[in-house]
Homo-oligomer: 286 residues x 2
């Protein structure tokens, strides 16, 4: 097809490749590493597909069928990232029309040599066995985050590892939940409302927990966009209102000496990592 005959020339000009993440478990490791590597090729459009629980020969043959179909459709061999442990299963996957990338290759033998012990691979265990203490810590932390979301409850603040504060829709809830789920951290959050901002001071209930506070900031333009999704055209979502609230809360952060972070350009993972680093929080799992 020549460029002039294409109605989707922008798309068709970009390189395209299908990618598979194949694992005998959840495929989280293959996918996480794969995303990092592929993000370094912005010139290419990737169609990423996950094939988890490929843990026997029958499912391996099924996977080869899916991969070969993609190779046929694309007229180009796919990339296959795998973390397979069973040699019989790996051998079957390696017969597919694809570039096979073994995620563990090379690095595993270096570690084994350094430690002076052989690896003991266990199918499906790449994230380790389920530790029931870790499971309990995560669940407890998630319930803590839910119970203490949005200032709903404040009497458990003595148990909190961290209390996030910020104006409405500045990212408090998802950050708390992420820290709870991933790290077992007990994270509460409290919204600073217009009434608090009029007083130009910290709500009374937060004062005795000042050492646990961390403030989220956001650019007014971004806050307007997020609030408009919820209540388009409202005063709540207006630029003037957002800017006023953000100026007032910035003043509180400064005058009260509360560490803060502008999260406008950050993912939830980045916000959580920065908060943990700044406050020196300890994970309760892992």
């Amino acid at each position: 097809m020549t460029e002039s005959s294409s109605t989707t020339s922008n798309k068709s000009k970009k390189l395209h490749r299908t990618v598979f993440f194949v694992s005998d478990g959840t495929a989280i490791t293959a996918e996480t590493l794969g995303h990092s590597l592929l993000s370094q090729f912005p010139q290419v459009e990737f169609d990423m597909r996950i094939l988890p629980y490929v843990d026997n020969e029958a499912s391996a043959f099924d996977a080869v069928g899916v991969i070969n179909q993609a190779a046929h459709d694309d007229q180009m061999r796919p990339l296959v990232f795998d973390t397979l442990v069973d040699p019989a299963v790996r051998d079957i996957i390696n017969t597919a029309s694809a570039l096979n990338l073994d995620v563990f290759e090379g690095i595993l033998s270096k570690i084994s040599t350094e430690l002076g012990v052989p690896p003991e691979p266990i199918v499906g265990s790449s994230h380790g066995m389920v530790d029931s203490q870790d499971y309990k810590s995560r669940i407890d932390a998630v319930h803590f985050a839910l119970d203490n979301d949005d200032g709903a409850r404040t009497r458990q603040y003595d148990l909190a590892d961290i209390i996030l504060i910020g104006v409405s829709r500045s990212g408090k809830t998802p950050t708390c939940i992420y820290m709870a789920l991933q790290f077992g951290i007990r994270a509460a959050n409290y919204p600073i409302t217009e009434d608090d901002l009029d007083d130009n001071r910290l709500p009374k209930v937060l004062k005795e927990y000042r050492h646990k506070l961390f403030g989220l900031m956001i650019d007014p333009e971004r806050l307007v966009a997020i609030r408009s999704e919820r209540k388009a055209g409202s005063r709540y979502a207006s630029f003037q209102q957002c800017q006023m609230e953000l100026r007032a809360i910035q003043g509180i952060y400064i005058s009260e000496g509360i560490p803060s972070l502008n999260i406008s350009e950050m993912s939830i993972e980045e916000i959580a990592t920065r908060v943990i680093q700044t406050k020196g929080l300890k994970r309760r799992i892992g």
Copy 2:
């Protein structure tokens, strides 16, 4: 120290090694791959430490100081997993007394050769740029999961991608939140209570959404342990009560043809991956 003189002989007999995950971003990629690799050496006890945002020469020198201190304390060189992109920063980290393991090494050049384009590494971007549409989808999904947790609301079920059901404390809430945060999936959950179980049928509100239902199962011993954490000694946490509820709900799953999963030995990631695979759910992000 001889074994007989040690009061912690069990611990001292196990091999020990300090591990660092060093990154110019969150270090999630280095840590995820590192955990998978290290789980294959159960003979060794690892002390894992994360050094995120090492993105300039000053922080690299700081990191080297921390790594060298650990090498000195352990009298053994640490393992260092890194995903550093800036060659000047990498060169500094490589001067540490450690076994340096470059997570991207080898595999990146294979991908580049296959694609026929050079990598364009960007510091701190190993998880890709923040896509504001993805951010919004995740936040929306988290709020959906919170609003529709534990049967609190049922009028949004037409918008749900999945509705998890199960007895109290069988893992519904954390699984919904994980699917929302990681994949932007709109996941509701509804607890099946004793009243529902007495009727031996699905609650009326769920009937028209039968195609969206997925049932969680758990071993009675495990349920007793989890409920005992919450209300020790109660009827709610008794073996007899747990077993009765689980038998009744299993009957409903079978008679109503609802797919289900025993989650007793699973991590939250595994439960979510199985549910997504079984129901053929589509991610809304990534």
